[in-house]
């Protein structure tokens, strides 16, 4: 089976000073798999995503989306085959929910009735009642609803690959957990390859079928969540200890007592 995305020896250096942001990153994500790219801010996760959909041009290495080398495709054509979800959502404020979701099909000149049917289907998929939401504008939605629309929009043209850049990062904790749970359900049903960027290790462990740990532009670790929990890689240990600080010993206020 062709991988949704195949990344080989990817590197990116800034055009100006030649500072390297991504170095020798390789991974493969198959259909139905979610690779979580985990790392601190500035570790190169987002840059890696943008190298896949060519918002940035790799300085070295190769990317194949559904078996096709991205370098051979027109960037706009490539991007229409890749769903892209960002933290700020970036819904078009002057478009209704229906127009937002139907954008890529419209650019691809689908017939209007097919777009309308697809939009309804997607709204239902992300848990929004089509009748109530079709003609709303983004400013009439809550943060969680906006990101649901963002996910629906990314799925519109049924791309084999989805890139998600901290999609739930700006949501309040309760909405975030709600969306994470639903997203987990979606992953299995959709059967798409996903690359999910986050710095939240809990989120990564919940949603990833594999975890890729990035640090200073390199992929330090690549493995299942189970392997990640047991890893002795210092950066992985640092992330795991952020989830579970373990028994507090000498804190700033001395030993703690439990109530």
């Amino acid at each position: 089976m062709t991988a949704a995305v195949d990344v080989r020896g990817l590197a990116y250096a800034l055009p100006g000073d030649g500072r390297t942001l991504v170095q020798n990153v390789s991974f493969t994500v198959g259909p139905g798999e979610t690779l979580v790219l985990l790392g601190r801010s500035g570790s190169g996760k987002t840059t890696t995503l943008k190298l896949i959909n060519r918002l940035l041009e790799p300085t070295a290495g190769e990317v194949l989306v559904a078996g096709e080398p991205t370098a051979a495709l027109e960037p706009t054509r490539l991007r229409r085959r890749i769903g892209y979800v960002i933290q700020e959502v970036g819904l078009f404020p002057h478009f209704t929910v229906a127009q937002n979701i139907g954008l890529v099909p419209r650019l691809e000149r689908w017939p209007a009735d097919r777009i309308a049917a697809r939009v309804r289907e997607l709204l239902a998929l992300v848990g929004l009642d089509p009748a109530a939401f079709l003609s709303r504008y983004p400013h009439q939605l809550s943060g969680g609803q906006r990101q649901r629309v963002g996910v629906a929009r990314a799925l519109a043209a049924d791309p084999p690959l989805l890139l998600l850049d901290e999609p739930f990062g700006a949501l309040d904790p309760i909405t975030r957990v709600e969306l994470q749970r639903e997203f987990r359900g979606l992953e299995g049903r959709l059967g798409k390859g996903m690359v999910f960027v986050t710095h939240d290790v809990r989120e990564g462990l919940l949603l990833g079928t594999r975890i890729g740990l990035m640090h200073e532009g390199r992929l330090l670790f690549l493995g299942t969540p189970e392997e990640f929990r047991g890893s002795t890689q210092p950066e992985a240990v640092a992330f795991m200890s952020a989830v579970d600080p373990g028994p507090a010993t000498e804190g700033p206020q001395g030993p703690r007592k439990s109530f």
Partner: protein, 208 residues
Amino acid sequence: MSLLSFYSRNSVELLALTWQHVYLVVVSTGAAIVVGVPLGIALTRRPAWRAPVLGLANVFQTIPSLALLGFLIPFFGIGAWTAITALILYALLPIIRNTYTGIAGVDPAVREAGRGMGMTDGELLRLVELPLAAGVILAGIRVATVVSVGVATIGAAIGAGGLGVYIFRGVATVDDTLIMAGALPAALLALAADAVLGIAQRRLAWQR
């Protein structure tokens, strides 16, 4: 002689001068839109052009209108075209600047989402940036138009016609009624242009 009896005796001339005035403003503002909006868009794509282009447009604004007309006479002679050229130069700055500001003010996340979804530069401009910037661009056109109505009165000094003809004639003969005969309709034109474009701005501008 009262203003009303002046108008009743010279109604044909009044209409002709008003028409000339509107013509000067519409042609010059139209040309400034045709030049200014694409130039403003170009500035958002070529940041290096921004300072020189806006700087130059700014320089035109600082030249007193009578002097600018004088400078242009050697190139375009006397008459309407010289006045129109001057009016275009005046109208460029608000139109270029507002087009640039309006597009540059589009939420970067919206632009990134559009690019990331595979919109071409043209699609992004046509479907997203221009509609979102429309209100700001129209505000610039509105300012340019209202200023043009005023500046066009000076066109009469170089034979361009328009309502300034009455004003200059009135100044020369120290006749307040005659000055008023030109100034009043010019002011009304400016107010009307402002109102109409204000409505268009509210209609066309996307609002939350």
